[in-house]
């Protein structure tokens, strides 16, 4: 069946990969690019563990084919920390607030939260809860994940206090 050559960037680094059309973006990142930070949970779009950013938007990388990434700018968990390994604000907040336990779902939550913190609109409690409902975590019970993203948003001055948020906390 058809094989294709795909050119794209991952975390700013140009890549050129030859693959089968049926190779998902997630498998392309893990198998062809060696970037195993993107985790595959359910492989049918339910759990969100494989969330990456494609041209700035969050995407389930198990529901896109690698061949479709032609010309795209992809960002993965490997691109968050500084080259010397220093964690960024969001990663530090996850550590401080115990936003992870086993860590399997964490790359997906971090990429989803990266998008939330980079949008034009400031983040508030309702938008945070609505967005985070897209990803599954079987360890934390979610409260610490919300705490971590909220803290990162506050540190980056992207947080908007809302009456609804105060009532829920």
């Amino acid at each position: 069946m058809s094989r294709h050559v795909v050119s794209f960037t991952v975390n700013g680094v140009p890549k050129r990969v030859e693959l089968e059309a049926r190779r998902t973006l997630a498998d392309m990142l893990r198998e062809d690019c060696g970037l195993t930070g993107t985790h595959l949970g359910c492989e049918h779009g339910v759990c969100g563990a494989c969330t990456v950013l494609v041209d700035g938007e969050p995407v389930r990388s198990c529901l896109m084919f690698g061949v479709q990434a032609e010309g795209c700018a992809i960002r993965t968990i490997e691109g968050l920390a500084a080259p010397d390994g220093t964690l960024n604000v969001l990663q530090r907040a996850f550590r401080t607030h115990h936003g992870l336990q086993c860590g399997f779902c964490t790359p997906g939550f971090l990429m989803l939260a990266t998008w939330l913190l980079e949008r034009d609109e400031r983040l508030d409690e309702a938008a945070l809860r609505h967005a985070v409902s897209s990803n599954l975590c079987r360890c934390t019970g979610y409260q610490t994940i919300l705490d971590a993203i909220r803290a990162a948003a506050q540190e980056l001055d992207r947080w908007e206090d809302s009456a609804a948020g105060e009532a829920r906390r």
Binding site: M1, S2, H4, E20, A21, R22, T24, D27, C42, E43, H44, G45, G48, T51, E57, P58, V59, R60, C62, L63, M64, F65, V67, Q68, E70, L112, W115, H130, A131, S133, S134
Partner: protein, 286 residues
Amino acid sequence: MAAMKPAAFDYHAPATLAGALDLLRGEEARVLAGGQSLVPTMAFRMARPGILVDINRIPALAYAEKRDGALAIGALARHAWFETPRAGGPLGRLLAAVVRHVAHAPIRTRGTFCGSLAHADAASEWCATVLALGGRMRCASATGTREVAAEEWFQGVFTTALQPGEMLTEVRLPLLGPDWRYGFAEFSRRAGDFALAMAVAVLRVEGGVVRQARIALGGIGGTPVLAKEAALALIGAAPTDAVIATAAETAAACCDPQEDIHAPAEYRRDLVRAMTRRALRQALAA
């Protein structure tokens, strides 16, 4: 669960609609738009298309704008676009209210409005909404184009009026004037998951009396259905709580909900009553 990988297929990404329609002449060909429903079914190998025609490289299909007095939604209009009203008046606000219930943000960035209509999941919010609005589907093939009304579109479980070789290129929704009201309510066990029942109501109120009304129900059987008797119960009446209750009761009595692993039929009937009441209350709130 064992690793789930799609079966092999030939992949094409044409740059024009004509190119895509030519490829769709092949019997094994399927359209790949957002892929948020097709790719999971391929991962489960419930779908094994021999050819995928990726339409994401056809910019002419990426639009959702007013054309000829309707909102014309092209095959590449993503769910997320509707989070900001794409039409003035109640229509844009209705679509913006509904889209919050369509899966999750990372699905909405890629999934398409027309893709939902072509996939025709019984629990699709867009399918029930298009039925409530009386939208029209534009289908194109290498040999011509035709239009199908929403009432004729949904033919069974995951089955539409789309013929082999055809592609759903556009959905047209009638604009709603300022005297139209809308309401949407659904019940699902988990945020963003498939609803067990939903109701979409659009009505025109003039002089304190309901003049026109359409109510569509979704998630309860193989296809979305119009609750015609419930809509009739509203017409000519001042929308009081009692009238709304009667309409909701009628919707529940006249629908034919299916039992499945998620809920018994009677539970769904109860949800239809509650969702119809909520949708109507929303629509008729001052």
